[in-house]
Subunit: 338 residues, 2 copies
DNA sequence: TTGAAAGCGATACCAA
DNA sequence: TTGGTATCGCTTTCAA
């Protein structure tokens, strides 16, 4: 049995209320008493029961992380998401909050209902895809603080933290344009609408800046499924007038595209230049290594935690909608290296 | 304010104790009463307060995951660990347990003390490196159930789940021996002692099976630091009589080794064959793709959760010490593909 | 400056 | 079969 406040009270001949106040540094406790209590607490390795305190304070000091992992069996996105989580955990823990992971959110409403009504956590961070609209509507009704991580949200009263997809894509495509490319393909992910729209917008913005007309035939849809980027690249190469460069929605697609290009006996970057997005570890070990857009994942996670904690502390705060800067990392898939 | 048991009691003109028993399906409640209570609970979306229940039941229904991440700023191991976590989460959540993530375990004893004494969770899973000995001793004293994941533990009374490192290494090296290699290097990780010892043991066992003498000069130490595998490979290639094949402690080292080999203008696998361990995503996208040993990470995590939950349910259970089978994945870094 | 007592929301014993 | 009541461990008025 762990030490309780009662043990300390008995040991010192004080009441539990006095001990509680001494431990919580109330001003109306004699300094000497305070000292004795805190000293004994230290000696006995006393820590207040997390549940008892939560019950009384109506506050759990935990935040929940809802992970909507599209493909249960696949680790394709593991690395990316774990970085976000680590960012969240870092900031949350520094401020005395624990992180509760919810990974199997099936029958979504049900589980969410439980989390909210059972007051398991003080706030939620939503990561990942899926039909966020319903969830957001539900959470707003339940009046539980939450923020969306890694995704822009239309509703103006919802807080979110997302990378600057528009400018990231713009930088990627400008880089290709500066290298002289004029026919630039885009392998998109319409199944991730907000992000895809933004990256496509950045792509078009870059073209406009260079006075290059937009050609719809160069836009090819792909999905999260394995082999999808490969097929998209083949489709691009099969065009009557194929692109000399391709910007892919993410590194996974770009890496599959790279494979398709190689299979055709074409050289990267000489025949086709490639740019990805995310800067996952694999992008560094392909041949040639992939030019890509680096996202501050840890920072994004950390900011999400901060925004949520601020809101938990003061629920009158206005929604925070953050877009964090990203930067292009130039590697061998666009520029031949010595 | 969420619905409480009191609301239901008042609404139905029953006592809270009756409602509680009805909700928990006690046998001494009239079927009709039970039905009415459960129906209303459903309608009102009632879920019992997690904290109140925990306080009373002296049981949190949460398990803690202690992550000792060696390098805070690096994502090198993210993918690997996240798979383990997902395995843990999957099984824990299926059985009504939530997962609490502890990532910043600094001043280790302090934080651990708090987790135990504040009864934040019912049990712990330990992932990662560090001086487990002290932690294990501490946790045993605190009498909190725990299991070590992804690492073998010497103390016979401690439960752990680890991959079969000996046989994985043995399979990898046998594969090289079968291909005719007789000088096979090993790039090790002495900073991860148990695992390294096992993989080295598998290496030696394979050599013994083929009657190939062990040559200490072919054993090169590396570390978790970036560039370490690269340097180790260079050292091997600089030997008077360099190896024709190399088995690396993990894929990260193998991939760095691959780079070193290429830089020397040598061919993989023709001049040097390479085998890694872990089957991380990157091992698939190198040129050539890496032959490696695949570990059942999800399964390992899942088993760890199961072992822990079993022990939480019955603390008289004997320690479970599991070694899960791994298997070799043959790719282009050892066998030229058509 | 200290302590008694109520209460957070549930469970469980015992009596009715 | 149901209800009263103590209790889990802590916090927080309100009196003393």
């Amino acid at each position: 049995m762990p030490v309780t406040i009662k043990d300390i009270a008995k040991e010192l001949g004080l009441s539990v209320s006095t001990v509680s106040k001494a431990l919580n540094d109330y001003p109306d406790i004699a300094p000497e008493t305070k000292r004795r209590v805190q000293e004994l607490a230290q000696i006995l390795d006393y820590y207040p029961s997390a549940t008892a305190r939560s019950l009384r304070r109506r506050h759990t000091n935990k935040i929940g992380l809802l992970l909507f992992l599209r493909i249960v069996g696949s680790s394709l996105t593991s690395e990316y998401e774990f970085e976000l989580i680590r960012g969240v955990a870092f900031t949350a823990e520094k401020q005395g909050y624990n992180l509760v992971l919810y990974t199997t959110v099936t029958r979504e409403a049900d589980q969410l209902m439980r989390i909210c009504r059972a007051r398991e956590v003080d706030g939620l961070i939503l990561i990942g895809a899926g039909h966020l609209e319903e969830l957001i509507a539900f959470l707003s009704r339940e009046a539980i603080p939450f923020v969306v991580l890694n995704r822009r949200v239309e509703q103006p009263d919802v807080s979110f933290i997302a990378p600057d997809n528009v400018n990231g894509a713009r930088a990627a495509v400008c880089h290709l344009l500066e290298l002289g490319h004029r026919r630039i393909g885009y392998i998109g992910r319409p199944d991730d609408p907000e992000t895809n729209i933004d990256r496509l917008a950045g792509y078009r913005q870059a073209l406009a800046e260079f006075g290059v007309p937009f050609d719809e035939r160069l836009i090819i849809p792909a999905s999260f499924e394995s082999g999808s980027g490969y097929r998209a690249m083949k489709a691009l190469l099969d065009l009557p007038s194929p692109p000399t460069a391709v910007f892919a929605f993410n590194d996974h697609l770009a890496i599959e595209a790279l494979q398709a290009v190689k299979e055709r006996g074409l050289q990267v970057p000489a025949d086709v230049a490639l740019v990805g997005f995310d800067d996952i570890h694999s992008s560094l070990v392909t041949t040639p290594p992939l030019t890509t857009v680096h996202q501050p994942l840890l920072e994004m996670g950390s900011q999400a935690a901060q925004v949520l904690l601020d809101r938990i502390a003061d629920d009158s705060l206005p929604p925070i909608r953050l877009t964090l800067p990203v930067h292009l990392v130039v590697r061998g898939s666009t520029v031949r290296r010595t």
